[in-house]
Structure formats: C-alpha cells, structure tokens
C-alpha cells in the first residue's frame, strides 16, 4: 500500500531499527514533502520538494524539524529552513494550523503514518490560505484575534474593588458552556469557511505603523467575524457575568461582517479539531440576533 522511494542518501539516523514490525518495512525509506514556500509578506510563493528519512510515529512537526536540520531541498540545493509556528505539540494551543494534504488541521496531531495511508509517498504542506503569509508556513492571524475583540469575548470584571463572589452557574450551564470554552483560536473554522475570504492589507510607502494598523483594523472590521468569534460571543452571553454586555456583543454580531455573512455551509463544525458545536452556536446567535433586532425595532 505504502510506496516510498528507496534512497540511501537520505536514510539518516532514526530510520534505523525501531523495534516494531511496521517500521521494519519502512526503515530506510524516504518521505517526500512538498512545501509551498514564501520568503516574506506579499512575496511570490513557490513549491519546494524535501526528502526526509522515515521514522516511526512522526508527526508533521517532526517532519518539519528534520527539514530544518537538513536545510537542503530534495535536489541537494542548500535552502533556508522552512519556517512554521508551533508551541504545545498536543493540540491545545492552536498555533500550528496549516494545510496538510489540502485540508486545514493542526500539524502536531497530523500523524505521518496516517497521512501516508491516505496519500502514499508524499505529504503536501501549505500555509493557511485565508491569512496573510509572514513566511513559509507562518501566517498572521491578527484578524482572528481582532474578531474576538469585536465581539468582546471576555467577562468584564475590570475594576479596583472587590466585586464579591460571582453568581452560581448550574452544572447544566457549565456542561453547555464547557465545549465552547475549549476553543484554541486555531482558525481551522475560518480556513474551511467559504464565506471567510482573505483580507491582506499591505503597508503603504511612507505610512506610519499606527496609520497602517488603523487601516488594517478597519479592513478586518468590515470582514466576516467568523465562526470562532460567534461561538465565543455565545459562550460569554451565556455566562451570568459576561451577559452584562450581551447587547454590545449582539450589536457587534449584527453589524457589517457579522453573523448574517454565514452561509450555512457548516464546514466550521466539520473541521474543528476540538469538536466545538459551532453551528449550534451560530444558530443560537442567530436566534438572539432575531430577538434583539425585533426588540430594538420596537423599544427604541
């Protein structure tokens, strides 16, 4: 099933005997990796092939580490190491999102053995397509975090005095809220969403950092907030203290780029690595927006 090219040149350390039966057949084999690279923001992207000696139980991050070690493309040319983001390596930090074989997912939980079963011989890595590329597989997900600011995805408890104990939250409410709280801002839901389109603002000649930042934020604020932010708004509107600014969140969700941009493709929930019920959140936010809009129409 798995067809890998024999290549003694790249059969480096780690490809040797690893004990289990599977690796015996794979020892000395090479994994071919196709990486879509880009040297800097706004630059041209290009494909580059890398060869990495197979080791058992690799994930995409360890493949990228081997590529960085070699710093050579498959044709032997010396190249700058491929850049990527990662942190926790256990699918809770949300920083290593990339397109693995064309699909958005966490690189750390993308196991090479599974990938080779699906697509023998080669692994394809691309940066997320909905965010500006910083370099290679690193992207700028500032818009994702800006969306959390737009919907005020927090509990407002700032102040210099003791507010006293917060209200009690029933076990039912806790169970309802917990899955939403597991969001790690990885951006998979946004990458897979057909309604979430890329916004890349480039700094102009002579534009100050502040002006550029302001212009970029304004552009982000016209774009779709995305499933993650809608779900966080639902999480904090369900929280007894967070609810105090529920109207502000609904105002944000019904302004330009708000919940109305959702096209019900439901890719968000299908690709979410944390299995967050995003479409339930979207429907709940839709219901809250319906009630809020009608109330605003008659109460003002």
């Amino acid at each position: 099933m798995i067809q890998l090219a024999e290549d003694s040149n790249v059969g480096g350390p780690g490809a040797a005997d690893q004990g289990n039966g599977h690796s015996d057949t794979m020892a000395g084999r090479t994994i071919h990796v196709r990486v879509l690279r880009q040297d800097g923001p706004g630059g041209e992207s290009y494909w580059e092939r890398h060869a990495v000696p197979y080791e058992p139980n690799m994930n995409v991050i360890s493949v990228l580490q081997r590529i960085a070690e070699r710093a050579r493309a498959e044709d032997g040319r010396q190249v700058a190491p491929v850049a990527w983001d990662c942190s926790c390596l256990e699918e809770v930090c949300g920083s290593c999102t990339m397109l693995v074989n064309g699909r958005t997912r966490m690189a750390c939980s993308a196991l090479v053995d599974r990938l080779l079963e699906e697509h023998p011989g080669e692994i394809e890595l691309r940066p997320m397509s909905k965010f500006p590329v910083v370099r290679d597989l690193k992207v700028d997900r500032g818009r994702l975090f800006r969306a959390l600011e737009r919907v005020e995805a927090w509990v407002p408890v700032d102040g210099s005095y003791d507010h006293g104990p917060g209200p009690r939250i029933s076990p039912e409410e806790q169970e309802d809220a917990y899955p939403l709280s597991t969001c790690m801002s990885c951006g998979c839901c946004l990458e897979a969403c057909p309604q979430y389109t890329k916004i890349e603002v480039v700094q102009r000649e002579g534009e100050s950092a502040e002006e550029f930042e302001r212009r970029r934020t304004a552009a982000y604020d016209r774009g779709f907030v995305g499933a993650h932010a809608i779900s966080q708004a639902v999480l904090f509107n369900g929280h007894p203290t967070g609810r105090m600014i529920a109207d502000e969140r609904l105002q944000a969700l019904t302004s330009a780029g708000g919940i109305q941009v959702c096209g019900n493709a439901q890719n968000c929930v299908a690709v979410c690595p944390k299995h967050i019920p995003l479409t339930r959140s979207i429907a709940r936010a839709g219901r809250a927006a319906t009630v809020w809009a009608i109330k605003r129409l008659f109460d003002r």
Partner: protein, 260 residues
Amino acid sequence: MSPAEAETSFFSRHQFLISRLFSLSGLIPVGAFLVVHLVTNASVLAGPGTFQSRVDLIHSLGPLLVPIEWAFIFLPMLFHASVGFAIIAGGLPNVSSYPYVGNVRYTLQRATGMIAFAFIIWHVIQLHWMGAPLGGGKFDPHHASSSAALALQPVGVAILYAIGILSAVFHLANGLWTMGITWGLWTSPAAMQRANWISIIVGVLLGGAGLGALAGMRRVDVEQARAIEDRMDEMKRMLEGREPGDAPLVRPVATSAEGN
C-alpha cells in the same frame, strides 16, 4: 457614528437587515408563490377544465392582477436575486477541498439559485404576456392548458423546464432549512436533523408537483382541451352578457392572444 462607520456604504451599514429581508423574501412571498404556482399548474392532471378554472380564478382579479404580480412576485424575486448574486460574489466555494454534505448543499444552493434565476427569466419571456414583444408570451389565459401544452411540446423545452423546476424546488427546500438556522428556529444538531427531514419531504412533494405539472401539460390533448376551454369561455361571456355594467369575470388579456 464613528469615522470608520461613516466610510462604509449603505449596504454594509444595513447588511444585517438586508440579509434578513433577503432570507424572509425567499420564503414569503417568493417561496410561497412557487408552491401556489406549482400546485396550481399540477391541477392540469385533473383535466384541462380544472386547470382552466384555476386560471380563471387568478384572472378574476382583473386589473389588480398586474400590480399584485409586481408587488408580490416580480419585485421580491428581483430583490432576492440581486442580493443573492451579491452573496454569491462574496463567497469562495471550496467543495473540492472539503466535500462535506453541508458544503455540497452550500454550493448547490448557489448553483440552483443562478439556474432558477436564468430559467425564470426565460420562462416569463416564453409564456407571460410581457414576453410577447420578444417573440414569447405564448400562454393564453383563455386557453390555459392548450396554449401551455403547445409551448412545452418540444423535448428540449421540457428538459430545460425539468432542470429549472427542480433547481427552484431544491433552492426553496434547502433554503427553508438554512433559513431556520439563520433565524434561530432550529439550533441543536438534532433539531437541525429533524428540520432537514421536513425540508426533504417539502422538496420531494413540491418536486413531484412541479414535474407532475410539466408532464400533465405535455400530455394534454390540444384539440380536446381547446374545445373545453372554448366552451368555458363561451359560458363566461354569457354570464357577463347577462349582467351588463358589471366588471367582466375575466379581463380580456388582448396582448397575450395577439402575441402568438
């Protein structure tokens, strides 16, 4: 209003309201009209006389028919279509990368919307009296079944009608399901699943009515239908003749008859 907000267009400031009106217009009146239209046309399966009496009922609105058509059918449909095209332009279908059922439906919803829009324009030109200057306007409300049967006789026309009808029906049935999510009627995955069954049943029944109407029109014996329609027309004239000064039961739609 902040400076950033002032810069934005009317459409972007009222995006939420426009989207909700777009969603609503798909069901009322456009979707409701589609149901009435297909079910009315399916009455031809009960015979040309039955269909003719349904058409007469609609045309008994007399001079009110044109404003009603524009207010409840054409204008809402044009609104729904223009907002729909703007929505399609703003999205980026990715069904090849993410071939999930929901995503396929998202893509089909857009495709069927565009097919239905193109079909409806052609359909109106072909049959509605407004299409007469363009060589269409073939439907004669005094000879409902026979004129429709003649227009739908070519196999190519029938195939295009089947595609157009099924596109419109899919668009309505699937739109019903997404509308429930948009407005927050069904929120849990289980409720969405139940709602999905309802939309499937609506779609199958409506698709049956639409294809039944198409097949029924094509099966009409034109000579026989014409005889029935002429007799009914004669009776209406007699009724009108008995009560002079009253508004005619059927407004003589001269343009449609002359258009042929």
